[in-house]
């Protein structure tokens, strides 16, 4: 029955209002400024949905149990009450029973003077907090929480998304100029720099790895690594990664201008890359799969899916599979992934110093990655007869193809004859491979 007591207004607070503004901002940027609408609209709408209280779309249920036997002295909460992590649900003569997460009470299962044994259920609670399932296991009861748990936390959607990205990626420019693989490698410096910064700011090793991998600028890689190493911060890292991928046109240019002179930015690169044969395009995903997975086995889900998608594209005999991966499948996965990622941002999660710090470190990761790519390009120019425009190093930030487009636009401003897009695509796609390898290395060491 609809009544004021059952409406979301009772639980709505200033934090929800602020998050509605942030979600609205994402949607505005997507529609009015056309900034990565396929990502920002579902993320922004996911933020809206999860900040309208009692909607239940991102709810998890868990039972709070007594850790020791005792008699219930006082029950301090009622059904429907909101609480923060660490609040007291009830007092036993043997100690307090605290809430392990933020949320609200679904049902109180004890009453005063009742005797409980260790392990007895004290209360059933509902939360939107992402938890380490080995420590605080929860059961998804909402639409988006089910998609999140069974799609993302079970590591299903991110590798499939990588398969689609492989089908969408043309490795031709990189194969025509394999030196650009090194620029993609250099850009992964941003991953490790952000990793160190995260440790300095007090994050644990697994959390620092999850924050560092934002610098790979690959959404599926970030989600995949974080879901295994630090699921409690997956919302912040994923939103940071996808948001900054959309903000690459704002992040990259100042970094490039800071590290290059006008003369360097105007370096002309011949627009014609050598033609890459069909056999090379077919052999590349097969060779890469074998080499990378033998060296870094933990990169298998990401690298394997990436390369099989690319093989679908390049072999010429699986057009149906390639077309499906490039269109229907990628769209479906984008909807599920980004909507549920946006829904990991209720105000209680987002408006924490830890989350805001992750967002800042994400920008640091992106900017450092771009800087490292530019610096290596300049170093390569010292030893190379045919100069490369150092701006293409910044395209190692593998927000494909946005980074390459940014370099193209900047290149044309400095020298209207310069057509850098295809040259920048080399490091751009190489960065995607580098990010998957970096993620696999983290998982191999820490996971």
């Amino acid at each position: 029955m609809f009544g004021l007591l059952e409406s979301g207004f009772q639980q709505f607070y200033w934090g929800n209002a602020l998050m509605l503004v942030i979600g609205g901002l994402f949607i505005y940027l997507a529609i009015a400024r056309k900034m990565e609408p396929l990502l920002l609209i579902p993320i922004g709408f996911g933020i809206l949905l999860v900040n309208l209280p009692l909607g239940g779309m991102m709810d998890y249920q868990l039972e709070v149990r007594a850790t020791a036997a005792g008699n219930v002295l006082e029950v301090q909460m009622d059904e429907g009450d909101k609480f923060k992590e660490g609040d007291t649900i009830c007092l036993l003569d043997s100690g307090e029973v605290l809430t392990p997460v933020f949320g609200r009470i679904a049902e109180i299962k004890v009453s005063p003077d009742q005797h409980v044994e260790a392990g007895d259920v004290i209360a059933s609670i509902i939360t939107m907090q992402q938890t380490d399932q080995s420590k605080v296991p929860t059961e998804p009861i909402g639409l988006l929480s089910r998609i999140f748990k069974f799609g993302i936390m079970w590591q299903v959607l991110p590798p499939l998304m990588f398969l689609c990205l492989g089908a969408l990626t043309d490795f031709g420019p990189m194969l025509a100029n394999p030196k650009t693989l090194l620029l993609g490698a250099a850009a992964q410096f941003g991953v490790y720099f952000a990793f160190f910064m995260a440790l300095l700011f007090g994050f644990t090793l697994p959390e620092a790895c999850s924050i560092g991998i934002i610098g790979g600028a690959e959404g599926p890689t970030t989600i995949y690594v974080t879901s295994i190493l630090a699921p409690q911060i997956i919302g912040a890292t994923a939103v940071a990664c996808y948001s900054y991928m959309a903000l690459v046109p704002i992040i990259l240019p100042p970094v490039i201008r800071l590290l290059t002179t006008k003369k360097e930015r105007a370096i002309y690169m011949k627009p014609q890359l050598r033609e890459v044969s069909r056999l090379e395009r077919i052999l590349f995903p097969i060779i890469t799969t074998i080499v990378v997975i033998l060296i870094v086995p933990f990169s298998a889900p990401l690298m394997g899916c990436f390369m099989v998608g690319n093989l679908f594209r390049e072999c010429g005999v699986t057009d149906r599979l390639s077309n499906t991966a490039q269109t229907t499948l990628v769209d479906m996965l984008t909807i599920f992934l980004t909507l549920s990622i946006g829904a990991t941002m209720p105000a209680e999660n987002f408006l924490q110093p830890k989350t805001l710090l992750i967002l800042v470190l994400g920008v640091v990761a992106f900017a450092t990655a771009a800087a490292a790519g530019v610096v290596l390009a300049k170093i390569m120019n010292l030893f190379s007869k045919e100069k490369i425009n150092p701006m293409i190093g910044a395209a190692g930030v593998s927000a494909v193809p946005m980074s390459a487009r940014v370099v193209q636009v900047m290149g044309q401003k400095e020298n209207p004859r310069n057509f850098l897009l295809m040259h920048a695509m080399g490091p751009n796609v190489a960065g995607a491979i580098g990010a998957a390898i970096a993620g696999g290395v983290f998982l191999g060491i820490i996971g």
Binding site: P178, L182, G184, V191, A208, E280, A430, F442
Partner: protein, 52 residues
């Protein structure tokens, strides 16, 4: 308490590993190009000889 020794080993080893793998890949891509080029030139020469 952060084990900085471990952190340095993770970062340097990780970055080194990524760089090494991509350098190896770059080399393999170049070698594949040479092999494919040689193979297709060899095939063209054989076809020309057959015609003459």
């Amino acid at each position: 308490m952060v084990d900085w020794n471990l952190a340095v080993r993770i970062a340097s080893g990780g970055f080194g590993m990524v760089f090494l793998i991509l350098a190896v890949l770059a080399l393999l891509v170049w070698l594949t190009y040479l092999a494919v080029n040689r193979f297709s030139k060899g095939s063209l020469n054989t076809e020309e000889k057959k015609r003459h």
